[in-house]
Symmetry: C2
Subunit: 202 residues, 2 copies
DNA sequence: GTCTATATTGTGATAGAC
DNA sequence: GTCTATCACAATATAGAC
């Protein structure tokens, strides 16, 4: 039997995740989620009452993915260059496996900015760990003087943006060739890490 | 009289731009556009027939803004470092004046990827100008060996992402302080230009 | 828990008077 | 060109049988 039978709630959540991430809240339809889960539309309401409540469950999970758990790495005794390498690898690998996350989060946080403040208050994310790490390496003379916040935003920008802009990069620059885009992304871990380290290393 | 009376079509277009950019196609309502333009909802249909046609007019203009006219600069005889400075300044300045453009474009190109291929075919945008410029400077020995495409995407990433992620940066890292965010953006032209040039200069 | 049927509201779009 | 009234349909949500 191999446990093919999942419980309905989980099936709905997985279907809803696919639909919401692809279409966004406004573009998603309860009917489409039901079809995707191969169940009746009423069952979706039975389990989650409203579209809003269902969306909340999806958004919180997706948002937590957007901020990978690199906190442990940041608190470790590895040097800043190793930390950056792990940071970039983790981020890009996660987006390869969840390509819709970037546009989804960037769109939805603008639709409802207040929500993220609440979410982040309850999260264990602590960027100051990384800030401290950066400032220590500056005092060591390992890296050039720079604003830690700009460096962090630069790192995230370089990882996230190519996934959010995939249709432009692929459709315009890469002649709509999916294989070429995948190759571009595959190169990117090395490329981004090297780009950053060249810029900050003393 | 100072020409206070604009023609209705233009008024609708300006209202539609505000609503579509803030809410996206799926989130926008024809009623809200009419309210924003302070006219009757039917008039919007009278001038533009359908929501789709109205959206097309807005999207094309917004998309053309997303790709600033830096082509002339790229074809000029300025060196690569001046070109990068102008590129970054132009991009960031444009997003300061049009803060909704990044999320709007990134969301809509994913909703309808085919549209952008058509749009770009009809545009005069030519990234190869910049690629050639980069490769020449590599042969001159002015910059390190690198993949031109990755450099271009890096430059765009660093300019665009902070605007798309404003609610996260402001709400999470900057304690929801708008002034702090504006200061962060103001620093960014110098910061990004320096970050890039440090990384590629020989 | 799962289904069918239906209520209710929202929304794009049109008809027709002025 | 601009308005009021209204249509037609889509979408969220609920009622109630099984």
């Amino acid at each position: 039997m191999l446990e093919e039978e999942k419980n309905t709630e989980k099936t709905i959540l997985e279907a809803a995740k696919r639909v919401f991430l692809a279409k966004g809240f406004d573009g998603a339809r309860m009917q489409e989620i039901a079809d995707e889960a191969k169940i009746n539309k009423s069952l979706v309401h039975y389990y989650f009452r409203s579209k809003d409540k269902l969306f909340d469950a999806i958004f919180e999970e997706a948002f937590s993915q957007f901020i990978p758990k690199v906190a442990e790495t940041m608190a470790s005794d590895k040097d800043i260059f190793e930390k950056i390498t792990i940071f970039v690898d983790t981020y890009i690998e996660m987006f390869i496996n969840n390509p819709h996350i970037p546009t989804f989060i960037l769109h939805e946080i603008n639709r409802n900015p207040d929500r993220i403040v609440d979410l982040l208050k309850n999260s264990k994310i602590n960027p100051s760990l990384f800030v401290v790490s950066i400032m220590q390496e500056m005092q060591n003379g390992a890296i050039k003087p720079l604003h830690p916040l700009h460096l962090i935003i630069n790192m995230i920008s370089l990882c996230v943006f190519p996934f959010a802009a995939k249709p432009i990069i692929k459709g315009f620059i890469l002649n709509n060739d999916e294989a070429l885009f995948n190759q571009f992304i595959a190169e990117r871990k090395k490329e981004v890490t090297a780009f950053i380290i060249r810029s900050i290393k003393n």
